[in-house]
């Protein structure tokens, strides 16, 4: 199968952006070979027609190398591949408008690199160039950062209410608050999970425990509120202890996200990861083993993914309108599928769903997740 990668497979989205150019070209036809040694940077051609370009960069040296395509000023980076170990090969794929550029290999990853001029001739391709949407991407990142912080703040506030009810022994109220409160967590799950120490403290499921490991966080309390038979309820002192930890760890989360900034690829990958969460944890009913409130989490994951996509939508719209439209409609489809299971302010329990209903939900998630996995490459290329 080696070498059989067609651009249609590689970047389903990028192709659409090339409407108007010869879109049946293969990557290989357009590919430029770059050999980076410790002392030289051989580029197989000094020019290429505008469009989506692929540089096959091979590191023939003994040091780790990088390859850049720079603007004529030698400062602005249009695209880069980094961390190419000796003997390894990596592709740089990017969309470039006509003009003068510089290529640069950087063996040892220091200095200005070994540079050469590179010309992009006008092929007539109507394309949105890599880097063209820098401003919109920055706006998207700012929007998303604000959203994450806002959700973390709401999580802190709602956790306080939840803990108050739980400690007062008002279990009915605690049960009612459990799922809506957790939605704030689930909306920003990829960010929360990126803090490797906090995630297990707050969101570990019983099945993920190691022998002898302390079980804390939401799911520990979940089990106490929806006890299985033969379960020994927590004492008031135990409830105190676990609640205190929950509040403290949630406060830490808020302080960590307060000044966090995000890159476009983090937004795109975050959206994809949220759908993965739905596909593997929620649609299977594994996340909320005791409360069965998986559909709340499902909704929250979709919310978070949608926010990331909406923030990036102007960029996607500019680069690949067809992908933008498809994601729009598939997000709507998932929401419509989920809305069928609304009940009161929330949803029916996972255990109330028939196998066919679960299957329909899973299909709508997969239908969205597949094109959503193109989001990052579309935005950053």
């Amino acid at each position: 199968m080696k070498g059989a990668s067609l651009p249609g497979v590689l970047t389903a989205g990028a192709l659409v952006a090339l409407a108007g150019c010869t879109s049946n070209e293969t990557t290989a036809d357009n590919a430029i070979a770059v050999t980076s040694s410790d002392t030289a940077c051989e580029v197989s051609s000094g020019q290429a027609p505008s469009g989506t370009l692929t540089f096959n960069v091979t590191n023939a040296g003994a040091q780790v190398t990088e390859f850049y395509l720079l603007a004529e000023d030698g400062l602005r980076i249009l695209g880069e591949v980094e961390n190419i170990g000796p003997g390894l090969r990596r592709d740089l794929v990017l969309a470039v408008p006509p003009g003068k550029y510089l290529t640069a290999c950087k063996p040892g990853m220091t200095g200005d690199g070994i540079r050469a001029e590179f010309t992009i001739t006008d092929s007539g391709a109507d394309l949105a160039a890599t880097g063209q949407f820098a401003e919109q991407i920055q706006q998207a990142a700012d929007t998303y950062a604000f959203y994450v912080k806002d959700q973390a703040e709401q999580l802190v506030a709602d956790t306080d209410d939840f803990v108050e009810a739980y400690l007062a022994g008002d279990d009915d109220r605690a049960r009612a608050l459990y799922a809506p409160t957790r939605m704030h967590w689930e909306r920003i799950e990829p960010v929360a999970e990126s803090f490797g120490d906090l995630d297990p403290k707050l969101d570990l499921r019983e099945a993920d425990l190691e022998e002898g490991q302390d079980w804390t966080g939401w799911h520990r309390i979940e089990k106490d509120l929806w006890p299985p038979v033969d379960y020994r309820p927590m004492s008031p002192a135990q409830r105190q202890k676990i609640s205190k930890l929950l509040v403290a760890d949630t406060a830490t989360l808020l302080s960590r996200v307060a000044d966090q900034t995000y890159r476009a690829d983090q937004l795109g990958n975050g959206a994809k990861e949220l759908l993965d969460e739905v596909a593997t944890g929620k649609v299977t009913g594994e996340e909320e083993a005791w409360s069965h409130t998986d559909l709340w989490d499902f909704q929250a994951n979709v919310d978070g993914a949608r926010v990331a996509f909406d923030a990036l939508a102007p960029v996607v719209q500019g680069k690949d309108p067809e992908l933008a439209q498809m994601l729009e409609s598939r997000f709507d489809d998932v929401q419509a599928a989920l809305d069928q299971h609304r009940k009161g302010d929330g949803f029916v329990l996972y255990t109330d769903l028939s196998p066919n209903q679960v299957k329909r939900l899973a299909a709508s998630v997969d239908a969205l997740a597949e094109p959503l996995s193109q989001l990052t490459a579309t935005v950053v290329t």
Partner: protein, 416 residues
């Protein structure tokens, strides 16, 4: 050997290429190419059981059995019958005195017959004993073997993320049948199961359709269903430490296990649909290798030793700290190695429109406690691959040493 030759049948229809140098019946010297080598017989008898250091065949049928008898003699009788049948089948012969197409016309054939016309296909049948053969769940002695339970035949702890299905976990006796033809492997398990009726029933079984390991330097490293070459640093038959990594040594004890090995099987479901949506960057970072040829991200080719200290931009390790290769590498575990012999599997779909597919992991080692156990503890805790896998089945078993012709597998245990 009182079995009708499957080979003789072959001779009649003119497919003589399958002959192996094993056995005396109707052997025809034919020049062989590599395809014939895959069809050849692997000797069954010897000081070690075959199917461990044997170059990994392409297909697997693995079966776990529960004993239904309470009589020790029944177990011995079955092991004798299994040994005879396995010796016949691995040589490309039929099971039983009359085989598949002869014998009393009003009796069902002794051999089930679906392997007629097929060469030995490198079939190996490897038999192992689960902990529950020695003691029952309350520690009771089932067959007078409790005193011979090897200390190394442990129960695995619950690893983080385990979602073990009881219907795919555990068993009293295990059979690993490997062959280069799936029908030959299935034929082996089917006939042993038949011989076991009244003494043992199949608890669960697993088909594997493609090897994921190379156990010989002559074999290329195959790919798992993630599309990666994994286990490049596997124990290979040619390695100087192969024997001491795999086989129980005299000093290890118990005596009846010397020349044997300990097996671990894990059914590892892959959530391949979410994996397929993951960027190449992340896929390679998770494994710590390139996808194209399996080279470590620190550079070189597949067999270049990974340089875990190699740094990329901003002094971030080229091979991520939580990558699969770094965590599983022998250098992280005191140099202890195990021989992996796993298979890709696909068992249809899961009802949600996703393939039930993954890796049926098999590993053999001198001591589970110093090899599989610490490696899996580390992987279960930190491996970034965990997001894409679930362990759904498990088994640990003691593989006794091989026997000479006339003996039966497990004889040293029952006569210990």
């Amino acid at each position: 050997m009182s079995a009708v030759s499957r080979r003789r049948f072959l001779g009649l229809i003119g497919a003589g290429a399958a002959t192996a140098a094993v056995g005396a019946t109707a052997a025809v010297a034919v020049s062989r190419d590599q395809a014939d080598a895959l069809a050849d017989a692997v000797p069954f008898f010897g000081s070690h059981q075959a199917g461990i250091l044997t170059p990994a065949q392409d297909r697997l049928h693995f079966a776990a059995f529960d004993l239904t008898t309470e009589r020790r003699d029944d177990v011995i009788r079955m092991l004798r019958a299994w040994t005879d049948a396995a010796a016949a089948m691995t040589a490309g012969l039929e099971v039983g005195e009359f085989g598949a197409t002869a014998g009393p016309y009003d009796a069902p054939p002794q051999d089930t017959g679906e392997a007629l016309g097929l060469p030995p296909s490198g079939l190996t049948v490897t038999i192992g004993f689960g902990r529950s053969l020695f003691t029952d769940s309350s520690g009771g002695d089932r067959f007078g073997l409790a005193g011979h339970l090897p200390a190394g035949l442990i129960e695995l702890p619950t690893f983080p993320g385990d979602t073990l299905d009881p219907a795919r976990t555990g068993g009293d006796i295990y059979v690993q049948a490997c062959a280069n033809d799936p029908q030959v492997a299935v034929h082996a398990v089917r006939n042993l199961a038949r011989l076991g009726f009244g003494t043992a029933t199949v608890r669960w079984s697993q088909l594997g359709f493609g090897r994921t390991s190379s156990t010989s330097a002559a074999q290329a490293t195959p790919r798992n269903l993630f599309g990666f070459k994994d286990g490049t640093a596997n124990v290979k038959a040619e390695d100087p430490d192969a024997n001491t990594s795999v086989w129980v040594q005299p000093a290890d004890g118990p005596q009846w296990m010397v020349g044997g090995t300990f097996g671990v099987a894990r059914r590892i479901r892959m959530t391949i649909e979410t994996w397929d949506r993951t960027s190449l960057r992340e896929q390679e970072a998770i494994f710590g290798r390139t996808k194209v040829d399996g080279a470590p991200l620190s550079g070189g080719d597949e067999f270049t030793e990974p340089d875990f200290g190699a740094m990329g931009r901003d002094d971030v390790p080229l091979i991520a700290m939580d990558s699969h290769m770094r965590l599983a590498h022998p250098s992280r575990h005191g140099g202890v190695r195990m021989l992996r012999r796993g298979y890709n599997y696909t068992d249809g779909s899961d009802g949600l429109g996703r393939l039930d597919a993954g890796l049926f992991f098999l590993a053999y080692q001198r001591d589970v406690r110093t090899s599989f156990l610490p490696v899996q503890q580390m992987l279960a805790r930190s491996d970034t691959l965990n997001e894409y896998i679930r362990h759904t089945g498990s088994a640990v078993f003691a593989v006794p040493p091989g026997v000479a012709e006339g003996g039966y597998i497990g004889q040293a245990l029952f006569e210990a």
